[in-house]
């Protein structure tokens, strides 16, 4: 046994001797991709722009992110977001509106919160992305995908037990936000997206986006007139 093990050792060593340079080369290549792909524009000579692009592409295809930006939203304007509230309710002809989200119908705007429910994050990301695609904030205006994002929410909430058997169920969504002045602390509330989806027809019944230039309060007033009431108030 000892002899056989002894006989194997030189072969293993030789293989290790051949493998190490190859493995090292692969590791160096991977590290080079990571460093090139993660090299931010602010610290990158323009000479490396193209290698950076290709490295990012290769890593992206492999599903690897060199890094991500945290708290990267532009934050220099006077007004800062204080709360994003996504209020979703179901409506049928025979019953009063049913709040589907947030649970309990209350948007958290103050105090301590131990954790953010994953549904809050997911809904915010979907609605926010829809908004950004509509405005072209992601570099491209894509109203079709923007509409599909909201449609996803409409369809998903139509499957809730409270609505699934109702023939004329509708899902209404409003995204409104509180903002706070960095200078004075004054708070404003304003709506960004108002959306209605018919479960039976599988179609949009209302869709309003706050125009960029519209002051927050004025848009709310217009929508309250349109909606007939303010379900989130």
């Amino acid at each position: 046994m000892a002899e056989r093990r002894g006989a194997k050792e030189p072969a293993t060593a030789a293989r290790g001797g051949r493998e190490r340079p190859i493995a090292s080369a692969l590791l160096v290549a991977y590290v080079a991709l990571l460093v090139l792909g993660g090299w931010p524009a602010a610290a990158r000579p323009t000479l490396f722009d193209r290698p950076h692009y290709w490295a990012q592409l290769v890593l992206w295809v492999a599903g690897i992110r060199p890094g991500i930006e945290v708290f990267s939203e532009p934050s220099a304007s006077e007004y800062k977001f204080r709360a994003h509230c996504i209020h979703i309710e179901g409506r049928t002809s025979g019953t009063s509106p049913i709040t589907l989200h947030p649970p309990g119908g209350r948007c958290h705007t103050d105090g301590f919160r131990a954790r953010v429910p994953p549904m809050d994050v997911a809904l915010y990301r979907v609605v926010r992305r829809s908004w950004e695609l509509r405005r072209g904030a992601l570099g491209v205006r894509d109203p079709a995908t923007s509409d599909r994002d909201l449609e996803r929410i409409g369809r998903a909430f139509c499957e809730r037990p409270e609505l699934v058997s109702e023939p004329d169920a509708r899902v209404m969504l409003v995204w409104y936000a509180y903002v706070e002045s960095y200078v004075t602390g004054a708070q404003l509330r304003g709506g960004f997206v108002y959306y209605g989806w018919s479960c039976a027809a599988g179609s949009v019944i209302a869709k309003h986006w706050r125009p960029d230039a519209e002051p927050l309060e004025r848009f709310d007033e217009a929508i309250i007139r349109f909606w007939g009431s303010a379900p989130w108030a």
């Binding site: 990571l34 610290a43 295809v61 599903g63 890094g67 990267s72 800062k80 994003h84 953010v116 599909r148």
Partner: protein, 321 residues
């Protein structure tokens, strides 16, 4: 030849294993808890009739990737995918992540955890999480590649492996090196990516984070604290921007690693950024000296309640008799 040899030695000479063993526990528990907490919303977040829908991935990830065949396989049936399949995958992920953290069939559990996490994050719903869910993927892969189940694990117990001095545990360096490099690249991206953001330069970024309910644990009147929050913003810029270099300078490494860990603990106390801070702390352990980690481990061990040994049980029986 000298350079090549040095590179080989840098990647393959034995290096401390303890940081990766601890990272295994942190990453495994992070994924276990992150998924456990979303059980009421599993179908809404990932189910066939939930938010993802059949076309979400196509909208988000229009170019072909190696995941596309998997995506087509899992999502191809669209709304006809049974909800029970999501529940089975979800339960399997919880079990695998817990096994990985505890070190039972460590490598297999790690691979299963990573693959199932990829299914949920990349195949079912990339919008269900913040960026931590993406960053943990390569970090997890490095820890799986290392023999991180060799110690502090059920596997080690079953194999009757003596514990010895944790600071002396070693393994080939390359998984540790990749984790270290990726942590530095991560700080490079996150810090230098926002260096020209006026909000950061004006010292308002931490205020923006703590005043927003979506990110803040304590939403209150933060205006009187603006100077302190501005100081925290500038400290964050300095520590994070210099981290990719300072973490490689032997005299600075430990200090910078502790400063970054403190920064993440502070962020964790004040804000919600998913499980981001735990992922980064797990990565930063790779820069701490093994004796420091062994000391922390010994202290944690001293405070841990112990199961009575057979000898203790015998002695207790004798006393009773």
């Amino acid at each position: 030849v000298g350079v090549i040899e040095r590179v080989e030695r840098w990647f393959f000479d034995p290096q401390p294993l303890l940081p990766l063993v601890l990272a295994r526990i942190i990453f495994g528990l992070t994924l276990f808890l992150a998924y456990l907490m979303r059980w009421p919303d599993v179908q809404m977040l990932y189910g066939p009739r939930g938010l993802p829908g059949p076309a979400l991935i196509q909208d988000l990830d229009p170019l072909p990737t190696p995941f596309q065949p998997i995506i087509a396989l899992v999502n191809g049936s669209g709304a006809h995918l049974p909800p029970s399949a999501i529940w089975i995958a979800y339960a399997a992920l919880l079990v695998a992540a817990l096994c990985f953290a505890l070190g039972w069939r460590t490598r297999a559990a790690g691979v299963a955890t990573l693959l199932l996490h990829l299914v949920f994050v990349r195949v079912r719903n990339p919008l269900a999480d913040w960026g931590w869910a993406e960053m943990i993927q390569p970090f997890l892969a490095y820890v799986i590649a290392a023999p991180s189940g060799r110690h502090l694990s059920i596997d080690a117990r079953l194999a009757g492996r003596p514990r010895g001095d944790p600071a002396a545990w070693t393994a080939p360096a390359w998984p540790l090196r990749l984790l270290q490099i990726h942590v530095c690249v991560m700080y490079g991206v996150s810090s230098w990516g926002r260096i020209d953001d006026p909000g950061w330069l004006q010292g308002q970024a931490v205020f923006v984070a703590v005043v927003n309910v979506l990110f803040s644990k304590w939403v209150t009147n933060w205006h009187p604290a603006q100077p302190a929050l501005a100081a925290m913003t500038y400290a964050t810029i300095v520590i994070e921007c210099t981290a990719p270099l300072a973490l490689w300078v032997p005299r600075l490494r430990t200090w910078w690693a502790y400063a970054l860990i403190t920064l993440h603990l502070g962020l964790e106390a004040l804000t919600h950024v998913g499980w981001w801070n735990f992922v980064m702390i797990g990565g930063l352990l790779s820069f701490l000296p093994p004796p420091h980690l062994a000391h922390l481990l010994a202290r944690a061990d001293a405070g841990r309640p112990r199961l009575p040994s057979p000898a203790d049980r015998g002695a207790r029986r004798d006393r009773r008799a």
